[in-house]
């Protein structure tokens, strides 16, 4: 029987974390959360999460940055928007989850080889380079960096895709690829995040 002591001190908070997040356009309403639990109640993934969406909202507002960014919740969010639509205070919970994902990626707070941020990284790299996604290439690159075993385990799926003519490794790209890089650079020049 392993016993844990779980008291939280004020020094466990990162003061300003919640306020900073709420200053992002679209996330201001978090101030009004009454912790009713509707978000967790309608979220189809909440039963797999270590902290329910409601708990993540409370932790974020209370500046418990470590707990929030290390949670599974932000990665398990499928952005189905069920929570956002039902929230009585009209808090954009899905958008807050995206913001938390961004912060976790920036600070590299996730286990190595965790597929979701790897997918995000590969996705963005592919779009930046080619302007479009070649799904099969993306999936293969994802598996190569996360779990070879999972890749092999999906052999039947791979065969199915080949059989139905969807297994294309030909790179999809746009003609004016340079425009993507140029637009991104224009954004980064003005510190592309927040007003």
């Amino acid at each position: 029987m392993k016993i844990h002591r779980t008291i939280k001190y004020e020094s466990d908070c990162v003061r300003g974390f919640g306020r900073e997040l709420m200053s992002v356009p679209g996330c201001e309403q978090l101030e009004r959360c009454i912790q009713c639990g509707t978000c967790s109640g309608v979220c189809p993934l909440s039963i797999y999460m270590d902290y329910t969406p409601r708990q993540v909202m409370a932790l974020t507002r209370a500046d418990f940055k470590r707990e929030v960014l290390h949670s599974h919740t932000i990665w398990l969010c499928a952005s189905c928007y069920a929570c956002t639509v039902e929230c009585p205070q009209e808090i954009r919970i899905t958008d807050i989850m995206y913001e938390l994902k961004q912060r976790a990626i920036l600070e590299r707070v996730y286990p190595r080889g965790f597929p979701i941020p790897v997918l995000a990284r590969e996705f963005t790299a592919m779009v930046r380079k080619h302007g479009r996604i070649t799904e099969m290439v993306l999936v293969i690159r994802l598996f190569l960096q996360t779990s070879w075993l999972a890749a092999l385990g999906n052999w039947r799926l791979g065969l199915d895709l080949m059989r139905t003519g969807r297994f294309s490794l030909i790179t999809e790209r746009i003609k004016r690829r340079h425009e993507i890089a140029r637009m991104f650079d224009a954004l980064d020049g003005t510190k592309g995040k927040g007003p």
């Binding site: 009713c36 509707t38 205070q89 009209e90």
Partner: protein, 667 residues
């Protein structure tokens, strides 16, 4: 133009109002500036002018310095003009030699730059000094108050107000839109927290109203027009036809038993559509008045509301010698005169069709709270047996709190009574069925006397309280025990995990909102409403039953959601306010009446403009004449007279122009 015959001696006071004015306006500087203006004999600044010492200061100064004008620069005249006029009068001066300047709501409270706010205060004071020099002595008008009272709405609020007034010997007209009085309370089974039977405590009062010699009860009627002003209202009431002669009907209900329709067929409004009635019906057995009525939309003797006289009329036959049925009845308009009006038109339950995720209509066993009340009520459509729409008897029931309330997408406010009535319904349903009860809430609001104790009792009875707002009710089953049931998926926030709870019956605790026609009603009675649509009280703390229109009072849920004890208290308060007017016998009116000057050319263009028909034409002098008693000082005729021959007390041309010049002057 009036020339100033005597020396003007003005006393000027600027109030600090604690920090309210002084924090933004430099009061001593204003006082010192004004002290140098022509006509000003003394100029003071003081912390609280409205206090006793402040008022005494005015009185003392008038006598000592022989002042003949007083100006106070402080808060809004709505608040203290009366106070200072009284102080001026107590000092021996006509109260209308006083003028008030608002440097709080118009200055210190709305600006953030101290220098600019002080300059503005000086300009406003300067304007007042110039104006007050032109003020004339005036006498307050006394208008008699008609001793009768109109109470609109005969729910528990209207009933209580009417009885209080009637027992004090006042004559009351009680108007009710429905064919019976009793309002929403008549539909309840028991009331929280005492579990008094609603009908048992209400029907004696209903009966008293029906037989009281001082109450004229007009049910199945509504107000269509209101004219006049405090103390003298003329109200037109439309009496809608029941097709039954009220004097002759004994309430025996033989007509109902003998109606051509052997079985009741039409949705029963009183039972929230759960039961059925015939075209001739009585809303419920204990209705007051104990008179039936005929619905012309479904009665066979009518077609689409128009009389065809094609039916066999077995009802008339059954009525026999009483001859109470009268198909020729039509709507009647009655005009009454009253001195004050109490509006107690109640609330409307939130329409659950606005929240389709709870499944009302899609699943037969989802009920609103009022429907559930009728189910458990012994005189309801199922005789108090909780039998669901599909015939089942429930073994598990879920009650969802905050339906439509505390939600930016529907109603922002908390409806105040739903937690308590949800607990009451949980108790009653458990008592009637023995089922497992689940209440899904965000917060338990139990603030009244005995309310928290009631919550304790519910816990002791084994009702399950789960803190989590329900997002959805579904019939999708994930486990064998959920087959055929309604599933409520909710986060049990206190336990910290998501749960799925299968129930047979779902009750939606719908919130309270303003009546559907509240906007039309409030315009009829010249009232304001808040952003939510409930009628607006004059002051949220100190004047909860007054409106901004003198003589019109509000009581009960039409002002905001509340429970029965608070409603009755408010109704008593409104009755008391009416009695103040009646027992004093008169109201004092601002002497801001208009008057015709000698150079009236007799063009008569002012006559049709007066909303109070106060202007008549004197054929002898060939000039217009204003009846001072009727004039309300609206200023319409003054502004419209083509030859400028109408003046208005308190708003003379020279008063207004000097004020403008004062504001615009430079030093």
């Amino acid at each position: 133009m009036v020339s100033l015959k005597q020396e003007i001696r003005i006393g000027f006071y600027v109030c600090h109002c604690g920090h309210n004015i002084a924090s933004m306006v430099d009061c001593p500087e204003v006082a010192s500036y004004v002290g140098k203006l022509p006509g000003v004999v003394l100029s003071r600044d003081y912390k609280y002018m409205c206090s006793d010492p402040g008022q005494e200061l005015i009185q003392k100064d008038i006598k000592e310095f022989e002042l003949n004008r007083v100006v106070v620069a402080s808060c809004s005249p709505l608040l203290h003009e009366h106070t200072f006029r009284t102080a001026t009068a107590a000092g021996g001066l006509n109260p209308f030699f006083f003028h008030m300047v608002n440097i709080r709501e118009h200055d210190s409270w709305v600006h953030t730059d101290r220098a600019e706010a002080t300059a503005k205060a000086k300009a406003l004071a300067r304007a007042a000094i110039r104006r007050v020099a032109h003020h004339k002595a005036l006498e307050v008008k006394k208008v008699p108050v008609h001793p009768d009272v109109l109470v609109v709405g005969a729910g528990i609020a209207g009933i209580h107000a009417a009885l209080t007034l009637a027992n004090a010997g006042k004559k009351v007209f009680l108007i009710e839109r429905e064919p019976t009085i009793g309002g929403h309370m008549a539909k309840f089974d028991k009331t929280f927290p005492t579990l008094d039977c609603a009908a048992c405590i209400l029907t004696p009062k209903m009966s008293e109203v029906g037989t009281h010699e001082n109450i004229t009860l007009w049910s199945h009627s509504d107000v269509v027009k209101m004219d006049g002003y405090v103390g003298n209202y003329t109200v037109t009431v439309r009496r809608r036809p029941r097709y039954i002669n009220e004097e002759l009907c004994t309430g025996c209900q033989e007509c109902i038993s003998n109606c051509i329709y052997k079985e009741p067929k039409f949705a029963d409004h009183f039972n929230e559509g759960l039961g059925k009635r015939k075209p001739v019906y009585i809303p419920f057995p204990q209705a007051t008045p104990q008179i039936v009525l005929i619905d012309p939309e479904v009665c066979l003797n009518f077609k689409r509301g128009v009389l065809t006289d094609k039916c066999k009329k077995t009802c008339v036959e059954a009525c026999g010698d009483r001859k109470a049925i009268d198909f020729t009845q039509h709507e009647e308009f009655k005009e009454i005169k009253v001195g004050s009006i109490i509006v107690a038109t109640g609330f409307k339950a939130f329409d659950v069709k606005r929240v389709p995720q709870y499944g009302y209509g899609a699943y037969p066993n989802v009920y609103t709270a009022l429907e559930a009340e009728r189910l458990v009520n012994a005189s309801g459509p199922t005789g108090g047996e909780v039998v669901l729409r599909d015939g089942r008897r429930p073994q598990a029931i879920g009650i969802i709190h905050c339906v439509g309330s505390r939600d930016k997408k529907t109603n922002r406010w908390c409806s105040r009574v739903c937690c308590m009535y949800s607990m009451k319904l949980a108790h009653l349903l458990k008592e009637h069925t023995g089922a497992e009860l689940y209440n899904f809430y965000i917060d338990i609001r139990a603030p009244g006397k005995g309310y928290e104790e009631f919550y304790d009792k519910l816990n002791e009875e084994g009702v399950h309280f789960i803190r989590g707002r329900v997002g959805e009710v579904t019939d999708w089953a994930m486990a064998p025990e959920e087959d055929g049931k309604l599933v409520i998926r909710v986060e049990d926030t206190l336990a910290g995990f998501v749960r799925r709870i299968p129930v047979d019956m779902v009750v939606l605790a719908t919130g309270l909102e303003p009546q559907a026609d509240s906007q039309a009603v409030r315009r009829l009675f010249n009232m304001s409403c808040g952003t939510e649509g409930f009628f607006l009280e004059r002051h949220p703390k100190l004047a909860p039953v007054n409106t901004f229109t003198d003589g019109i009072f509000i009581a009960g849920c039409c002002q905001g959601p509340r429970d029965i004890p608070d409603t009755v208290a408010q109704a008593g308060a409104a009755a008391a306010e009416s009695m103040v007017l009646i027992d004093r016998g008169y109201v004092e009116q601002e002497p801001n009446t208009a008057y015709i000057l000698p150079d009236c050319s007799g063009c008569k263009s002012c006559l049709p403009l007066c909303p109070y028909t106060a202007i008549t034409f004197d054929d002898a002098t060939k000039k217009a004449v204003i009846n001072e008693a009727l004039c309300k000082g609206c200023g319409t005729c003054v502004g419209s007279c083509p030859s400028g021959s109408i003046g208005q007390n308190l708003f003379e041309d020279e008063e207004v122009f000097s004020e403008i010049q004062g504001v615009l002057a430079h030093d």
